[in-house]
Amino acid sequence: MNEFARNVNAAIVLVIAGVLFGSIFVEFYMGVKPCPLCFLQKLAMIGFAASELLNLKFGVRTEHYALSYLSALFGSAVSISQILLHICPNPDMYPPMVVFGLGLYTWAFIVFVCAILANSILLFLYKPQVRMKRPAKLGTFPMIAFILISLITLANIFDAVYDLLI
């Protein structure tokens, strides 16, 4: 069960890495400048992925799930507020970027809801086991997830600085 949970955690991290890569693609290929709320949503996604990485490295624990809930709830609060800003618009509002009929902030909200759902299922199936005394050596699949999310975090640092400069 623990191994299954860790593989699911690695898959979640890979999905989030894909979503964050998509945001970089939208910015640099399609030329859509991200707003501060978009940056906050990206931050929440990276926080969620980092909490899942804790599960991969140190074994599945409830504290790690608590951190991932904190990040996912913060991210969903930001995306909900952005949705509400578009329901009740003001003149300074950021124009929406629509993909498959929904704004990117709505997709972000769906990602956070799915993340909370996946975490809830994993926490439901969780059974306390003997704790690892030392950090685990990551396998190939979790290692790829770890490297990808670290690279995307680095890319976002440069993205935030680039956003200031232009």
């Binding site: 709320l37 906050l40 931050l43 999310i149 670290s150 640092i157």
Partner: protein, 52 residues
């Protein structure tokens, strides 16, 4: 610049996870989320031009 700093702090958290420091990594992630929440509140306040 604040956003870049927050991403940088997350990168530091990743490094802490990689070298096997669990508790500092958890503290860094939690503090980062709390700072982000206050930035969010401040942003909403200026955008909506109201006192939250």
């Amino acid at each position: 610049m604040m956003m870049a700093m927050l991403f940088l702090i997350f990168f530091v958290a990743m490094v802490l996870i990689a070298i096997g420091w669990r508790i500092p990594a958890m503290i860094v992630i939690a503090i980062n989320m709390v700072i982000s929440f206050f930035i969010f509140l401040q942003h909403m306040q200026t955008q909506l031009n109201i006192n939250l």
